[in-house]
């Protein structure tokens, strides 16, 4: 069996990844790389991380057999990895705890973050409160308007939310602004990136912290079903929940890995966020990866009903997994994701996040064509409480 050990020392996953930043950021990234190398195998650090995941987050998250939903398909058995049960309601917190612990060890009293829908911002504000750190969250001014409730949550937790007015006023611009803050305040500030993007070592570090999802699943699936699943599915925006569950399975080639992107109104309309399905390689936010861009190399605006998938780039490791053929990437539309959302509510009593609903929707496409003894594992990366407003609006209901 081949052993997968990317990235290389310079942060490359084949032609992707790397460090594409201005000279002014290099030393901060070198320091971070050195610090992470020091702590990532340190038993005391890992014990601290494990303690927080168990007692603060509530890990391990269960794996749940969605029996009624599976019966409805009459095909494969679908299991759900319940990241929606984590404290703060999604997988985001796993990574935030890891990075906040690093910040503490490095003596940085201030943390900053970018956020789109607000989930990563809320997770960062939560941990900053828990550790007594100053917290500043950058959020596109368009997103601030759309996600008023999450903005309020962050403020309740003591964070400062800075609306970003540049560019398209969304997640990618919030990331630009957080980088600008970091380069200016690097002495006292740790930048907690929320996904497996950004310059090396972020894609590797965030993956390592999120891979607790897949490590648990590899133990839980044989206990529940006697074996590993036939396929693992996860939604892909930046790709952190997907890498988290995929990574421990990469060397196990009997397991199909399927990443599900947001096709928005449909790939043919151009209004989508399906970077791997419809983009091409380029450089953004410090790494080389697939991007949604125009013919002149300008980044274009994206669309998805799910704000957490609404990003024109994708983690470089996914770009590599796509090119190498180890993982498959597909896309489902807003409407397909909504249908899966409602089905899971009614058949299983679980309200999934709209992001996760994309992975569920693809499971719903392939399960009926599979045998009853086959197994799908879907990463249910977050819960849908935050999406009530969006879903109600789609159904013509105003609160």
């Amino acid at each position: 069996m081949r052993v997968y050990d990317l990235p290389d020392a310079k942060g490359h996953f084949g032609p992707y990844g790397g460090v594409f930043v201005s000279e002014t950021l290099i030393s901060a990234l070198e320091d971070l790389k050195e610090a992470y190398a020091r702590f990532k195998d340190d038993p005391a650090f890992l014990a601290e991380f494990a303690y927080e995941l168990k007692h603060y987050v509530g890990r391990p998250s269960p794996v749940y057999h969605a029996r009624r939903w599976s019966e409805h398909f009459g095909g494969a058995q679908v299991y759900l990895k319940r990241e929606d049960l984590n404290h703060t309601g999604a997988h985001k917190i796993n990574n935030v705890i890891g990075q906040a612990l690093l910040a503490r060890h490095l003596g940085k009293p201030r943390v900053i973050a970018e956020t789109g829908a607000g989930q990563h911002g809320v997770a960062t504000a939560t941990i900053a409160a828990r550790y007594g750190m100053e917290c500043v969250v950058y959020m596109g001014s368009e997103d601030v308007k759309r996600q008023a409730q999450n903005v309020y949550r962050m403020k309740l937790l003591g964070a400062t939310v800075v609306p970003v007015e540049s560019g398209s006023k969304t997640l990618k611009d919030a990331l630009n602004e957080a980088m600008r803050d970091w380069v200016t305040n690097v002495e006292n500030t740790f930048y907690i990136i929320g996904t497996v993007a950004g310059p090396h070592p972020y894609p590797m570090m965030v993956r390592d912290f999120q891979s607790v999802i897949g490590k648990e699943a590899r133990e839980q699936m044989p206990e529940m079903t006697g074996r590993q699943p036939d396929a693992v599915l996860a939604c892909v925006g930046g790709g952190s929940n997907a890498i988290g569950i995929f990574h421990p399975y990469i060397n196990d080639e009997s397991v199909r890995l399927i990443g599900v992107e947001a096709a928005g109104h449909g790939l043919e309309t151009g209004q989508h966020s399906a970077t791997l399905c419809a983009g091409r390689a380029g450089v953004l936010h410090g790494n080389r990866t697939y991007l949604l861009q125009d013919d002149n190399g300008q980044i274009i605006e994206t669309h998805s009903i799910s704000a957490g998938l609404d990003y024109p780039g994708v983690g470089p490791e996914h770009a590599w997994l796509k090119d190498s053929g180890r993982a498959e990437y597909v896309a489902v539309t807003d409407d397909e994701a909504l249908e899966a959302f409602h089905k899971l509510c009614r058949l299983e009593g679980i309200i999934p996040a709209l992001e996760s609903s994309h992975a569920l929707a693809y499971a719903a496409k392939i399960a009926p064509r599979m045998r009853k003894d086959q197994i799908l594992l879907v990463n249910l990366s977050g819960r849908g409480d935050k999406d009530m407003h969006t879903v109600a609006e789609k159904s013509g209901i105003k609160f």
Partner: protein, 268 residues
């Protein structure tokens, strides 16, 4: 000898330092670009850094971000910018032009196509802000082959090991970014710059320009005393932003104030 090397050599003989203005091509509008370039030369520019607009200018502060957004509203592309260099060259065959921007538009065009087009148009050098030397070897090889200089940035936190790397890969001149942070930020510490430049010079014979945080004639003169070139970006772009209809006249007048301060006249 390249136009950039010839310029530094001529200035050295004259005992003067280079003045390098930066502005974003296509700001305030596409028709302004070539007249602005000529106005800057008339105002005393020795080299022009011509910004290529990008949708995500991560290393720039608000002033240059806005200039990039204005240019992109007009749909300005890297091909347009290269076209304006060719237009400028029709009447100015002496002033070096350095294209400055981000990696993605260049990668999108392709290194070979870009290098050939830029050279044919009469460009002299290229700064790709988000290509540190670790990621730039293939670009440098391509630009070398086309006869274009790859200009690299240095920062206050660049280590000696990386200084060596940059000195080996850099062509034309090096651009010392005098502040931590983004373009247009805070003020500059001249004594600190002087110390850093003498250290940098122990690694390279290339001219060293200084930018970020130079906002007036007095600072420009003091930086010129310790460096080979003064780069002015955000402050110039503010002039263009303040009066887009008179951009060329305002830019020329602003730059000539800096020029006379640098050459020992009264501070602007």
């Amino acid at each position: 000898m390249s136009r950039i090397a010839a310029t530094f050599s001529r200035l050295k003989q004259q005992g003067r330092k280079a003045l390098i203005p930066f502005f974003t091509a296509g700001d305030p509008d596409p028709a302004s670009c070539v007249p602005l370039m000529h106005a800057l030369v008339a105002g005393g520019a020795d080299i022009i850094e011509l910004g290529v607009p990008f949708s995500d200018p991560m290393a720039d502060g608000p002033v240059i971000q806005r200039s990039s957004e204005r240019a992109l509203k007009h749909g300005v592309s890297l091909r347009d910018v290269i076209g304006w260099v060719a237009e400028f060259r029709k009447t100015d065959s002496d002033t070096p032009v350095v294209l400055m921007g981000y990696a993605n538009p260049v990668e999108s065009m392709g290194f070979d196509v870009f290098a050939a087009a830029a050279k044919t148009a009469g460009a002299d050098g290229v700064v790709v802000v988000d290509y540190p030397p670790e990621e730039a070897e293939r670009l440098v090889d391509t630009l070398d082959a086309a006869g274009l200089d790859t200009v690299f940035l240095l920062s206050p936190t660049t280590t000696d090991a990386r200084l060596k790397q940059v000195a080996a890969l850099g062509r034309g001149y090096l651009y010392y970014v005098s502040l931590k942070g983004v373009t247009g930020a805070a003020t500059i510490d001249v004594d600190d710059v002087a110390r850093r430049l003498s250290h940098i010079r122990s690694f390279t014979a290339l001219p060293v320009g200084v930018g970020f945080g130079i906002r007036d004639g007095d600072t420009a003169r003091r930086i010129a005393d310790v460096s080979d070139a003064v780069v002015i970006g955000s402050r110039l772009v503010q002039e263009i932003e303040a009066a887009p209809a008179e951009a060329a006249a305002r830019a020329r007048s602003f730059l000539s104030g800096i020029r006379s301060a640098m050459d020992g006249g009264t501070a602007a």
